[in-house]
Symmetry: C2
Subunit: 308 residues, 2 copies
Amino acid sequence: MPRMALPFGDDVAAVDIGRGKLAVLKSDMLVDRTDAPKEMTPWQIGRKAVVVAVSDFASKGVRPIALLTSVGMPRELPKESIEQLARGLEAGAREYGVCIVGGDTDEATDIVIDCVGFGLAQKGKIIPRAGAKPSDILAVTGLFGDTAAGLRVILERTRVPNGLRRRLVRSVLMPEAQLKMGLALARTGVVTSSIDSSDGLAWSLSELSRMSRVGFAVENLPVSPLAERFARITNTDVKDLVLYGGEEFRLVVTVRADRWSKAKSAANRAGGTLYKIGETTFEKRMILKTPGSRASRIRPVGWEHFID
Amino acid sequence: MPRMALPFGDDVAAVDIGRGKLAVLKSDMLVDRTDAPKEMTPWQIGRKAVVVAVSDFASKGVRPIALLTSVGMPRELPKESIEQLARGLEAGAREYGVCIVGGDTDEATDIVIDCVGFGLAQKGKIIPRAGAKPSDILAVTGLFGDTAAGLRVILERTRVPNGLRRRLVRSVLMPEAQLKMGLALARTGVVTSSIDSSDGLAWSLSELSRMSRVGFAVENLPVSPLAERFARITNTDVKDLVLYGGEEFRLVVTVRADRWSKAKSAANRAGGTLYKIGETTFEKRMILKTPGSRASRIRPVGWEHFID
């Protein structure tokens, strides 16, 4: 691979196309059986396929300008479901200002959507997974735990009050990619590494750690209030919901400590919040050390393990 | 879709990226159950997924420079098959001088491969489906019928001598994209429209006809000698093998009549042959009129109908 600007395994692939430009490409495959709870409508499945791909672009600070959507479907899928699915793809594309320019359809046993994004970036302006340095600030662009709780409500039929249930389930059915935030953070030039949290916070941290060859000390868990309430009601450890959930499309970033306020205000101007949760360490371990409790290791596992 | 250089439904999508350049994108989904006879090994399935995508680039005269390969697989697929499949993808990529720069994997019931190609083209240098003019010469880059005969041998267990059987089956298991030919033809500047014949010659003609708003008079059927022999032995109409087969990755093109020799010699220099099979007509019908037989309509059906 001669002209790769990012290593294999980063959130996107980037191909040098000359004149200081990179073509940025990413494909994400979604299979209904594995990636979509039965509660999801075809419209929501289509929309989610787009969100997943856009989130990878968000994490690199690159605007996707075109999508290809390849769809495999069972022959017996009702025409109405097919139309719903297509409308979901389009709705997702519109939400993030990107055009579906092509795709393919085929017959398959499952509903399979491969959503491919294409964008352009300036060389050197794309945020890699591999750029974190010791003493950088570790931050996230949202609070965690809603989708892990939502998946328990859906898959394990955990009982919680209706209002809470609705909001948790919605976080699973209607995920959101933080594209505006990712673009704003990239423009600051002070974000040293970034990844999206689609496979869970712990997994994202372990990927940043592995590719940047640093460790992390997490001092503040970014706990969502809904997840906290769910944990209290169901007697669940909220730490597990926050660290080992998934399908929660936040950005996990490291920021130069001396430029933290620049990143923080860029996030605010983009309508969001950057939450400081810890810092990058020279030692390549991932440690959770919250006030008043013992230090513990963060395990490098992702949400696939959570549902197994 | 504001910046599309080719209409939706052409072989590839082309996005204007400024400075006279187009980003060319194409995804092709292959599902083993539908697109790969049982005789195909995982290596051959992987390789074929690449061939199918490359063939679309060939038909537009654009060199693919990067591929993304997303693969869905059953959980119980043996590790060896997975490795074979990956090696097949790589072998296909190497054959056509293109790099696999990314992809995704997921669990699915079938083996599903979505192969996405990316390339660059100069604006105005990409051969569309919609450019054929009346009186253009209609030509193909190879002879037809082998894969239709091969599929009958495989799917219907039609019995033919061993040597013939081997070669027909091979045409199905080891398809080839005519990339070198497509690039050479595009460079001549005298090819007015082009499509690949993955869905059969008749279907390709009907697509060129529909998008260029012309008709075709076919005077010479491009019959492969192997298909001819198969037809004789099995008492099959060779015309059906040639017109209504599929999975045969030739290029179907129209050429300015006054510049035919330029296209013909470019094809020769690329190591192949351009076969004149007829001409473009003002009247939007597709007619087969071979010497010594009655004129008949070419039906706009593709190979999906053939296997149904």
